[in-house]
């Protein structure tokens, strides 16, 4: 039900993102989605990749601080109001979103929303009850 996400600590200095993506490319790891949260001094890069363990290992070997978190991937139709529906359902259940990011799949029909909720268990129950499609890791990598 939950999808593994890796997070990487980044100092705000030039070339770091390029280095990470190069390392992943060399190791034939495919990035499905990413987001960067940043302050003036540092950033947190979050990645959904097809080979989580391998990505973690190679990034660590290259001196990066890597964390692993579980996030929730929700698939919606790529139509106006799609995200609003999901957020309304979550809001009604009184659950806070810690962060989210999104990508559109190859066919361009559906969008995938990646969520980190304050209460992951309750969020799953709520979204399932409201008939949203929750993707597994395999499904994400197959997109």
């Amino acid at each position: 039900m939950l999808v593994e996400q890796i997070a990487v600590f980044l100092e705000n200095k030039s070339g770091r993102l390029a280095e990470i993506t190069a390392i992943l490319a060399e190791n034939e790891i495919n990035i499905r989605a990413l987001s960067v949260a940043d302050t003036a001094d540092f950033g947190i890069l979050r990645l959904i990749v097809d080979k989580v363990e391998k990505a973690k290992t190679v990034l660590r070997e290259n001196g990066f601080t890597v964390g692993k978190t579980q996030v929730l991937a929700v698939e919606i139709e790529d139509k106006t109001g799609g995200l609003a529906k999901v957020l309304k359902s979550i809001k009604n259940a009184g659950i806070n979103v810690e962060y989210m990011y999104a990508f559109v799949n190859k066919t361009g029909e559906n969008a995938v929303l990646i969520f980190r909720f304050e209460k992951m268990g309750e969020a799953i129950d709520t979204l399932q009850r409201d008939n949203f499609t929750i993707l597994t890791s395999e499904q994400i990598c197959g997109l």
């Binding site: 964390g67 810690e98 980190r116």
Partner: protein, 432 residues
């Protein structure tokens, strides 16, 4: 110009005789009352009663800051607590704080010694003295306060901080003497400029500065910008606090109150005495302290003695201003900071050996300490909220540990240079 002329101008032979008597009495007293000293003396078969010359003190063991920490809080007190009327302490909650105590007589002596320094700098009972040192466990505030009262000056115990208010009070109360750190005096000059206050319109005449290293260039700048005569004074809480030594109006070295402190200058590596006039580490033995005597305390401050007689008439030897440290202690905003204190806090938070770097700068005459911390997995979060909360936690813990505010900069793992053993983790960019 003198507070206690008879003592301050005592002929050297008489002074040395007095020192020997007092030294023998102090050694005898610590051997009787302080197990730490008793055991050390016994091990080395030292008999205070048999001390016949000041030079024989060299046979006695040194006392270090670590000894003070090991005996935290009251282990080195030489009188029962009921005879202690005051305690002061260094900052620190990680088990490396030190505590010192004062008997009623110690407070009187301390007040007199501070009064000597004020007098030497030119302060009289007619002066209004603004004490902008922190009051509290730090010895600076209370030390100067009691000395200034003893002298009979009018004391404004304003304590540290709130520079605009300091200046307002300085104007309204017609302060004539200012006590603070030299960098804070320059900060005040900056703020006066911002406020449109002309220092020439103030009543200020004297500045008594201490608690941090400074230079002749800084003295010139302070004198010119504030229109005062700045003098240096020296002390440390382990020995007493301010009042150990101070400049007279010659402004050429600090007279050490040798009737109360016996001074040695040693090579910090060989621990042997340096040749007269050479730079070395200052070692102090208290001669009259009752509650907290120290024997051959290694101050870690580097200085040299100026043996030539001073035109002021005082017979007490002068030391040059402190030139540096023989350990890794930093003085930031007048507060003593050891890298180990920071390391201990980071270790607690990270749960592992921290990798860090300290950067000290002086911006607008104010010291700024930035702690660069490598982010390891135990302190890395995928949520920005938590990552920023971590920065705040480190900030707060360090502020409470050190007693000064710090900046935190998180850096990537393995981005800081590694040091083998006792390498320096400190980059001090201050130019004094």
């Amino acid at each position: 110009m003198y507070w206690q002329k008879d003592q301050e101008c005592l002929p050297r032979p008489d002074l040395e005789k007095l020192q020997l008597e007092r030294l023998r009495a102090t050694l005898r007293r610590v051997a009787n009352n302080v197990p730490f000293y008793r055991n050390k003396f016994a091990e080395l078969q030292l008999r205070p009663d048999q001390l016949t010359a000041l030079e024989e003190l060299r046979d006695y063991p040194f006392t270090t800051k670590q000894d003070l920490r090991d005996n935290y809080p009251y282990g080195l007190f030489a009188v029962p607590l009921r005879d202690v009327v005051r305690v002061h302490s260094s900052s620190g909650t990680t088990g490396i704080a030190t505590v010192v105590g004062y008997s009623r007589n110690d407070i009187i002596t301390w007040s007199d010694l501070v009064a000597r320094i004020l007098c030497g700098a030119g302060v009289t009972p007619d002066d209004v003295i603004q004490i902008a040192f922190g009051y509290g466990l730090f010895t600076g505030g209370f030390g100067l306060h009691y000395g200034a009262e003893r002298l009979g000056a009018s004391v404004i115990p304003i304590s540290s901080g709130n520079t605009k208010r300091q200046i307002k009070i300085m104007q309204d109360f017609k302060t004539t003497a200012l006590v603070c750190t030299p960098s804070y005096a320059l900060k005040m000059a900056d703020v006066m400029m911002d406020m449109g206050v002309n220092p020439n319109g103030l009543s200020l005449r004297y500045g008594l500065f201490g608690a941090e290293p400074w230079s002749e260039a800084m003295r010139q700048e302070i004198n010119e910008r504030l229109g005062i005569r700045a003098t240096d004074n020296y002390g440390l809480s382990e020995v007493m606090g301010p009042g150990v030594a101070g400049e007279c109006r010659e402004c050429n070295g600090l007279h050490i109150s040798e009737d109360h402190f016996f001074i040695e200058i040693i090579n910090p590596d060989t621990l042997e005495p340096v040749a007269p006039g050479e730079v070395g580490e200052l070692v102090i033995t208290t001669l009259t302290k009752e509650a907290f005597p120290v024997i051959r305390y290694r101050t870690r401050d580097l200085t040299r003695l100026l043996p030539e007689p001073c035109p002021c008439g005082r017979t007490f030897v002068r030391m040059s201003r402190v030139m540096g440290r023989s350990d890794d202690m930093l003085i930031i905003k007048g507060v003593n900071v050891f890298p180990t204190q920071i390391e201990a806090v980071l270790f607690e938070i990270e749960g592992t050996e921290p990798h860090y770097r300290l950067v000290v700068e002086r911006e607008n005459n104010e010291d700024k300490l930035t702690v660069m911390v490598e982010v390891v997995e135990s302190i890395f979060f995928d949520e920005m909220k938590k990552q920023r909360a971590l920065v705040e936690t480190i900030k707060k813990r360090l502020a409470s540990e050190l007693g000064i505010g710090v900046e935190i900069k998180l850096v990537e793992e393995r981005s800081l240079e590694r040091f083998d053993g006792k390498g320096t983790r400190v980059i001090d960019k201050r130019r004094l």
